[in-house]
């Protein structure tokens, strides 16, 4: 089959690879009908997330039709012919983490748990197409994929919603929603969102659905800010505006009650010297992640507020504003999304037309053009917000 493979830093290639086969008895094979490129794929593309190997199949946002199931798959849960969306973290449903709805921290699904444990202190769940640190599972930017513990993870789609309406249940819609949910939004809350990429857009939509009085988008890409403005959100362009002053102005001097970091480890900074400082530390490996957005979210948040982190971090950061965080009674909440917890309730919100996930799609490409998709997404060309690929 054809699959989009990581070759070397900043190079992916669509090549022929073997078709996937059943490796565990509860596996299923899915014929992929739609798949997408995620912002976190860009952290893999350029090699910031370690343990990528030449030939790794990329992609953790995919859906399709079940074409084969292992003998251990519970037939009441999944059958050949079912149409499914596959959540990016692989859960087992049986360990303490899964039983407590912390699916992305599943204790059983990462065969390279020992490696992840050295990096993070405790291991994390397996993830499709997301380096060997999260298990070395082939991803879904391909014609077929092997789905693990298939009677626990995939969400069956039984209505006539289109692929584009449900595909993002695999990652970015639940991720954005969890970012807003962690904010524990109450009446009158102003929510500021750093990053107006696809996850940031869904965090904004979710904040509104959950009752935020005002939602503010912070970015430096004009078309992304326009996309947020078109939904009625306030916008701040950090390339030409002082974010702190603008936030104080928009909140009557209070600061946002809740702040969401939807940027993560490769943030850029409006002030060249700060950007250079962190980029240099990253280059010599004395810091792995650039935390501009996180720092600004912490110092901007009103005292006693919540900072919710859904942008991806991989390792270590420098100059964490611990004084601001501690003295001002801030709560920091975070996590890779526990997608399985949110898929069904969000599917219902899509059915009720409360959220329209298709609004972020700007590029529809055949799988063969995946490298071009990565290119325009990474460099923010052609107004690229979200790329959907069809095999």
């Amino acid at each position: 089959m054809k699959a989009n493979c990581w070759i070397s830093p900043n190079k992916v290639e669509v090549t022929d690879v073997p078709d996937p086969a059943i490796l565990n008895s509860r596996d299923a094979i899915v014929k992929i009908t739609a798949t997408a490129i995620c912002g976190s794929d860009l952290h893999l593309l350029d090699g910031y997330v370690p343990t990528m190997q030449k030939g790794d199949v990329m992609g953790h946002e995919f859906m399709g039709e079940v074409v084969e199931v292992g003998h251990g798959v519970d037939g009441d849960k999944l059958r050949v012919g079912d149409r499914v969306v596959v959540p990016f973290p692989i859960g087992c449903g049986a360990c303490f983490a899964c039983q407590n709805q912390l699916w992305s921290c599943c204790e059983n699904t990462n065969p390279n748990a020992g490696m992840a444990e050295k990096m993070f202190g405790h291991p994390v769940a397996g993830i499709y197409g997301y380096s060997h640190l999260t298990g070395g599972f082939a991803g879904g930017q391909a014609e077929y994929a092997r789905v693990v513990l298939a009677d626990v993870n995939p969400l069956k789609i039984e209505s006539d919603l289109t692929d584009e309406q449900v595909l993002f249940l695999s990652d970015i819609l639940p991720t954005g929603y969890m970012g807003a949910e962690m904010c524990e939004i109450t009446d009158g809350d102003v929510v500021a969102v750093w990053g107006a990429g696809p996850v940031g857009q869904f965090a904004m939509d979710s904040a509104r659905v959950l009752g935020a009085a005002k939602v503010i988008a912070i970015d430096d890409v004009p078309y992304r800010l326009e996309m947020a403005a078109s939904q009625g959100y306030e916008t701040i362009d950090y390339s030409d505006t002082d974010v702190r002053s603008a936030l104080l102005e928009l909140t009557g001097g209070r600061g946002p009650d809740k702040c969401i970091d939807a940027v993560g480890m490769e943030a850029t900074h409006g002030a060249a010297h700060v950007q250079l400082y962190d980029r240099a530390k990253q280059a010599v490996r004395s810091e792995t992640d650039r935390p501009h957005a996180l720092r600004q979210a912490i110092t901007s948040c009103r005292s006693g507020g919540i900072v919710s982190v859904i942008g991806v971090y991989g390792g270590f950061i420098d100059k964490f504003p611990a004084g601001s965080w501690m003295n001002r009674a801030l709560t920091l909440k975070t996590g890779q999304c526990h997608v399985q917890r949110y898929m069904r309730p969000l599917l219902e919100r899509i059915e009720r037309r409360e959220i329209d996930p298709t609004r972020v799609i700007t590029h529809r490409l055949p799988l063969a053009e995946a490298p071009h998709g990565y290119d325009v997404f990474k460099h923010k060309q052609e107004g690229c917000e979200k790329v959907v690929l069809t095999p």
């Binding site: 086969a21 190997q53 204790e107 991803g139 693990v148």
Partner: protein, 179 residues
Amino acid sequence: MELTSATTVTRPPEEVYAFWRQLDRLPTFMAHLDEVRATDARRSHWKASAPFGQSVEWDAETTEDVPGQRIAWRSFDGADVPNAGAVRFVPAPGGRGTEVHVTLSYELPGGALGKAAAKYFGEEPSQQLDDDLRRFKQVMETGEVIRSDGAPRGKQAREEFPQHPARPLTDEELKEVLA
């Protein structure tokens, strides 16, 4: 050399004990064991892979067996690598299942065999036992050892760095890993 490790399994102590008590199942999750066979109620025959494709065999006796709580064993005199082990099964607080505490001890001989064994266990000898227990937990909680494209061999994952790429296996590779 003494190794210790612990894990918690979301199953009751009686069930976890009963699984471990079937010694012939140990090789499904313990990387270095090829075969364990009960020869009578208290005796067993163990076969393990050693460095350079060699294998080591020994007989052991069960020295303690308290259902639902504890199993201990040790090799008989004359084993190439005298060894002993014990597992305690302790109810985890708050109904969280069973804590499994394992201790293994090896008397490493001098000479080439001892050196080879030390090298085999590497700089972090407990890592192998940690990984064994992780797989034990996988088997108890999900039914089998989880395989990925990068680590398709299940329990032999540790030996595979750098790994197989995270792409599906060829038919020949598949035949080999599932053999």
